[in-house]
């Protein structure tokens, strides 16, 4: 009908309503454009470590980087109306924030261009005393993550009528999502019974904040928090809990004489690494030595003074050997090497010697030949001398398979002794998370520090994180109607804390899908009297990609697809991920510069907090913009300035709770999230975080002075500075004297009437409250000291409670002394022990090392990070092992996974072999942090050859099959140059320059069965594998998984190795050790198991 008569359109004049009622109405005036002020031009910086003074951050001009290439201002002058060819001047506002890629929480400044309201770059924050203005590759990549070409721009909802995993999505709104989710949560909680309080689960991947996330389930009155910790670090934490009832250690790198590392963690890839690496570099410049125990020559090992490639999982023997020598040998002056002053005062040897029943057991186990002669410290020293005498150099050489490397043990000994008590370490991932009994590695590593006095927390030594970390993000209660913390929760969720694992360090997250689908297990415990949930009403992960990162990924897919097991799911996810495909909603949340969190990282002996911020909102507010709804300011700002409908939890949850979960307050939840200032609405970011961070007295005092005219002075201080150091030089905190006056003893922020405080025979002070006994301090030389966090207030060489909780044989640092003890002590022998390797093609696979430029899942689509990390994940194989098997560089090999508990095979992945001297004989290495996949490239754009991308920079496309028993992946197409990008052009100019295909890795996590450690509960990551050359049709990246077998492997580890709760138990778990994250009442802890 080309062309219609113009007259036809005149009918438009006769519409029943006017255009104004039809049009959307998207044009208005804008305050921002008018508020840009003149600011002075900044000339050439003097040094490259240049940061403007904080007072200039609101209004800082900088010459444009591109223009510098044209010869600088000398040649062209500064651009202006009259001088069009001059150098461009950028009007920046620097808004401080915090990196959200890893747990280190390094300081960042977002350089917001005030003319375009875009972030041009992220740099460091010099006011952050941990990161000191520096960042790793991931920090500088935040810009590329923020303006990711495949960024999810708005909430997506599974298309009605489609099934989970079909990949059919429609756009929805945050309001619709909140309404649906809130109603489901409301209806679940309204039932009010025990099961309902176990039916909602918040599953947090990387928290990167200190307590806000815990507050979510806590305020809902549910035991509904789950984490990723048991695939990350729970092994090390278990060892630390037993020694110090603390979560992790905290070294003083900068002042150490020996940096004693197990794995590349700390120095080149792991926890707090960028901050730690800088401090370690400072120490080494000063002359400190560095030793790395690692079967793989990591970057750290490569530059260390000494690399010791123990057989993975046997390091315990080496640490006990060091303790043995310290106990038996003298220094050059003939004095003991043992730090007697420290050990005598701060180790609980007295309780061991007083426990005759346990000593008898030690005799029975053959640990010692006879009962100690008496109860003195000297008797203890004699006992441990005998206990550790079997851990000789010869034994270590044999056990750790260090034949030919005897000289390395001699060199280690010299460095270790020369360092005195200035030994700093960070025992975290690697060994402790890789092995069954990995926690004992931590236990024994700390023993080697204890005997030298290096765990005193003094200068240059090692301390504990509690004293170096500040967690107030969950404590903004004063800004809410309730004005106080929610009550303790009365129920215990078996899906996160099953009765087989009463001592697990953290939630049994990696077997959540197994527990959900294991109806036999549910039935068993139901019959024994527990109320075990059979399904979840709402499951919502945050910054987490469990499908991909957990072992047995196909089991996760099965569980997530089951709408009868997980009725509603949504992922609070900043990026596309494998998990997103199987959820009902994908709700895009902010990255480093798009959210508000209080974080604190114990990277040095100080107490510090940092504040992550939604930088576009902050910049706009400083320029006069006001949100229409102050409780949704971040969302509004992100939409206004073209980032998309990106929100954040600290606005989402308050709105969800107040308006949708408990709109009328009848569930008792609303008051914890409604604003005290205006109870009709949710609490705002400034209100909440001002209240939370005001709990730091020095910060509050400073902020009140500097921002006395502001409504939220502490918030304002943190908004403008981004970091605050409350206290420096936090050393030997256990030796701090408690305040005592004529009536009270003051401890942990509480005061106790003196007549209620009882001293026991070992000097510990006890009080009773909440219906149980707590130790609050210890008497030493007539002083009342704070002590450690343990019940004894000392470091616990002997973990008395652990012995009582069914594991007496492991209540002291110990390890099999000979082959005959491997089976007897199987709970602390790695599943990849060399005794399991029989044929020349049987290997231990070292999976659990990080790549320094990647963070598990969020970095997938940063071109900057992908470019430097691609092709870095082959299967490392020792040169001579490869020769024997006829394997050459680049060969595709099948890596078949087999379980040493059940004897079952899991399937295989096909990797690319790279023979190298940088892994030890018998041990392969392949990081489980690579091998991302997607099933669709998204969709074609009709009429154009290019496609919209899903993880288009970092994940190749695969075909998947899975039938409930066997799952496979096969690569279809690698990553290609991009011409189809539609977002953020200015930031993605070079996406046509992609030269990697990403096809060098495989999704090995799916092949790995869950190996739940019987005690710490963590997944023991390493695998026994059998390798062979790939078959004709195999390609690198193929996986074949028998996940029916994997289910049996999980059951075998659970049923053959654990010591579950039984009818003799009255408690779910010892009450004095941490049970993150929701505080539970005595009622929740109480248990009755039917015989």
């Amino acid at each position: 009908m080309y062309l219609q008569s113009r007259r036809t359109f005149l009918k438009g004049a006769a519409f029943s309503v006017a255009g104004v009622a039809i049009a959307k109405g998207v044009f208005a005036t804008d305050a921002v454009a008018e508020s840009i002020e003149n600011s002075k031009f900044t000339n050439t910086p003097d040094t490259i470590s240049f940061y403007p003074n904080q007072s200039e951050w609101d209004n800082f001009q900088e010459l444009d980087g591109d223009d510098w290439k044209r010869g600088g201002i000398e040649r062209h002058g500064v651009a202006s109306a009259e001088n069009e060819d001059g150098i461009q001047v950028n009007n920046f506002m620097l808004v401080p924030t915090v990196c959200s890629n890893c747990e280190a929480g390094c300081g960042l400044t977002a350089w917001v261009n005030k003319d375009t309201m875009t972030v041009r770059k992220y740099m460091g924050n010099p006011l952050h005393t941990g990161s000191r203005g520096r960042n790793c590759a991931k920090g500088y990549a935040v810009t590329s993550q923020m303006y990711d070409p495949d960024r999810i721009p708005f909430p997506l909802k599974r298309a009605p009528g489609s099934k989970r995993g079909e990949g059919k999505w429609i756009r929805t709104t945050w309001d619709e999502a909140m309404s649906t989710i809130g109603k489901k949560m409301h209806d679940t909680l309204k039932v009010g019974d025990e099961i309902s309080k176990k039916s909602i689960m918040y599953h947090v991947g990387r928290p990167n904040e200190n307590g806000f996330g815990h507050r979510v389930p806590h305020s809902l009155g549910i035991d509904g928090y789950n984490s990723h910790t048991n695939i990350c670090s729970a092994g090390a934490r278990q060892g630390t809990i037993q020694w110090a009832n603390d979560d992790r250690n905290s070294p003083d790198w900068a002042n150490a004489e020996l940096i004693f590392l197990q794995s590349s963690h700390a120095a080149d890839a792991g926890h707090y690494f960028q901050q730690s690496a800088g401090l370690i570099a400072d120490a080494r410049k000063r002359g400190a030595k560095m030793v790395v125990l690692d079967p793989r020559m990591s970057n750290s090992a490569g530059m260390a003074d000494l690399w010791i490639p123990c057989w993975p999982g046997t390091e315990t023997a080496l640490y006990l050997y060091l303790a043995n020598r310290v106990l038996h040998e003298k220094d050059k002056n003939g004095d003991d090497l043992v730090a007697h002053d420290f050990v005598k005062e701060w180790v609980n040897w007295d309780r061991l010697l007083a426990n005759k029943e346990y000593l008898q057991k030690m005799v029975g186990y053959g640990y010692i030949s006879k009962m100690p002669a008496g109860d003195t410290y000297e008797d203890f020293i004699e006992l441990v001398k005998e206990l550790y005498a079997p851990y000789t150099k010869e034994m270590v050489i044999r056990e750790c398979k260090l034949e030919g490397m005897e000289h390395k043990l001699d060199a280690l000994w010299e460095m270790y002794i020369d360092a005195g008590d200035k030994i700093a370490t960070y025992i975290w991932r690697a060994g402790p998370i890789a092995h069954r009994g990995g926690w004992m590695i931590a236990r024994s590593a700390f023993l080697s520090l204890v005997v030298r006095g290096a765990l005193r927390g003094d200068i240059g030594g090692t301390s504990f994180h509690h004293w170096h970390e500040i967690s107030v993000a969950g404590k903004g209660d004063k800004a809410t109607v309730a004005g106080e913390r929610p009550a303790k929760v009365d129920v215990w969720n078996e899906l996160a804390w099953p009765p087989e694992y009463p001592l697990s360090s953290y939630e049994m997250s990696h077997i959540l899908p197994h527990l959900l689908m294991d109806e036999e297990w549910q039935e068993k415990w139901t019959k024994k009297g527990l109320k075990v949930p059979k399904k979840l009403s709402v499951w919502f992960p945050r910054m987490y990609n469990p499908v991909w990162i957990n072992p047995d990924g196909f089991r996760w897919i099965e569980a997530l697809k089951r709408e009868d097991k997980i009725e509603l799911s949504f992922n609070l996810s900043p990026t596309w991920s494998e998990t997103n495909w199987y959820c009902d909603y994908i709700l895009p949340v902010g990255l480093a510069g798009e959210r508000n969190d209080q974080q604190s990282t114990p990277s040095k002996p100080e107490q510090r907090i940092e504040f992550r911020q939604a930088v576009l909102r902050v910049a706009a507010e400083k320029m006069g913009w006001k949100a229409k709804d102050p409780t949704r300011a971040t969302l509004e700002a992100h939409m206004k300035y073209g980032l998309g409908e990106i929100w954040e939890e600290s606005e989402f949850f308050p709105n969800l709770m107040v308006h949708h979960v408990d709109p009328d307050g009848s569930l008792g939840i609303r008051k914890y999230w409604a604003s005290k200032k205006d109870p009709s609405r949710a609490v705002t970011v400034p209100e909440y975080f001002d209240a939370a961070m005001s709990l730091l007295p020095r910060l509050k005092e400073t902020a009140d002075k500097m921002y006395k005219d502001e409504e939220f002075p502490v918030y304002s201080y943190m908004r403008d500075h981004g970091a605050w150091t409350e206290k420096t030089n936090v050393y030997k905190p256990q030796e701090e004297e408690l305040k005592v006056d004529s009536e009270y003893v003051y401890a942990h922020g509480k005061k106790y009437a003196k007549h209620h405080v009882k001293k026991d025979q070992f000097g510990a002070l006890w009080v009773e409250h909440d219906g149980r006994k707590h130790s609050i301090g210890i008497i030493s030389d007539d002083k009342v000291l704070a002590g450690f966090h343990t019940l004894s207030k000392k470091l616990e060489f002997f973990s008395e409670w652990f012995a009582e909780w069914k594991w007496p044989e492991y209540a002291i640092p110990i390890y099999p002394r000979n082959e005959s003890e491997y089976k007897k002590m199987e709970h602390i022998v790695t599943q990849v022990h060399h005794s399991f390797m029989k044929a020349p093609n049987e290997f231990a696979l070292n999976t659990v090392f990080r790549l320094p430029y990647n963070i598990h899942t969020r970095s997938v689509n940063s071109k900057h990070l992908m470019e430097i990390s691609q092709n870095h994940n082959p299967v490392w194989i020792y040169t001579k092992d490869a020769e024997k098997l006829g394997i050459k560089r680049g060969d595709a090999i099948r890596v078949k996974v087999t379980d040493t508990v059940s004897g079952l095979d899991s399937g295989y992945f096909v990797g690319m072999a790279v023979p190298t001297e940088a892994t030890r004989p018998g041990v392969l290495a392949c990081s489980h942090h690579a091998g991302r996949w997607k099933l669709k490239d998204s969709v074609s754009v009709p009429g154009f050859e290019h496609k919209l991308g899903i993880m288009g920079v970092g994940a190749p496309r695969y075909d998947m099959t899975n039938d409930g028993k066997v799952g496979t992946l096969k690569p279809v197409e690698g990553i290609k140059p991009r011409h189809d990008v539609w977002q953020f052009k200015e930031y993605n100019k070079d996406l046509d320059n992609i030269w990697w295909d990403g096809l060098s890795g495989a999704w090995q996590n799916a092949v790995a069965p869950s190996h739940p450690d019987p005690i710490a509960g963590n997944h023991a990551w390493h695998l026994k594998v059998i390798i062979e050359k790939a078959k004709a049709d195999d390609v690198i990246g193929d996986i074949y998984v028998d996940y029916e077998n994997n289910f049996k492997v999980y059951q075998a580890w659970r049923d053959e190795l654990t010591r579950p709760l039984d009818h003799t138990d009255k408690l779910r778990r010892p009450q004095h050790i941490k049970r993150p994250a929701v505080p539970l009442s005595n009622k929740a802890y109480a248990v009755e198991i039917k015989a």
Partner: protein, 224 residues
């Protein structure tokens, strides 16, 4: 002349408002009711008028099961309704404050609110069409006030914006949209928009021939 001009302007305002609204966001029940109940509007959607699915369903179901799914495919997933995507050689899109069309709006003191629009950039087809709507509205006010010279100047802006922006890409997009549409409503909307902007350009070209002078044009038309 005045009455004819104002009728013409009123039609232009309303049609730009209608097509910009349809292209900008998902249809809601209010809009759908308006389309169905207003015979003048409905006459612009001939296939939709006949569409059998429309007869047997509630408006809510129609929207949720068909129209919104089609909108998602056409405007969010499969196609890219942004000028920069069509016009740049690298087929990338300029989001946020760097978008040149946004600069153009700014220069006429129109500030686009991307959050209201729920779009990623100022050169979205819905926003560009609403810009035309705003210009027509201004032009109409000037005509009502007898300010013919100003009205002519605004018409020149409209002409240039159509010529230099909308016509440079929207026809291709709308043809694609028409062929990819899965529902009669969006099929007809593409057709309507395409026909209308071409026709409107003809109309503005006539004005241009008369140096954007309504007096001249009026004299000429009267002469015929």
């Amino acid at each position: 002349m005045q009455d004819n001009l104002l009728t013409e302007q009123s039609a232009r305002i309303n049609i730009y408002a209608l097509i910009s609204r349809i292209m900008m966001n998902e249809v809601d029940e209010k809009l759908l009711e308006l389309i169905i109940n207003d015979e003048n509007i409905l006459s612009f959607f001939p296939e939709f008028f006949k569409w059998d699915k429309r007869q047997g369903m509630s408006n809510k179901d129609l929207i949720e099961q068909y129209l919104n799914v089609d909108f998602t495919n056409l405007f969010l997933l499969h196609m890219i309704p942004y000028e920069s995507f069509y016009r740049r050689e690298d087929q990338q899109m300029e989001t946020g404050g760097d978008n040149p069309v946004q600069t153009l709006y700014n220069s006429f003191d129109f500030r686009v609110e991307l959050d209201e629009a729920r779009v990623m950039a100022a050169d979205h087809i819905g926003v560009e069409l609403e810009f035309m709507y705003k210009l027509c509205e201004s032009e109409s006010k000037a005509l009502v006030d007898g300010e013919y010279k100003i009205a002519g100047e605004i018409a020149e802006i409209e002409y240039n914006f159509l010529k230099n922006h909308i016509l440079e890409w929207a026809p291709i997009f709308l043809l694609n949209m028409k062929s990819e549409a899965g529902t009669a409503l969006y099929h007809d909307a593409a057709d309507l928009a395409l026909e209308f902007i071409l026709s409107d350009f003809e109309y503005l070209s006539q004005l241009k021939e008369n140096s954007f002078s309504y007096e001249k044009l009026g004299r000429k038309n009267n002469g015929h």
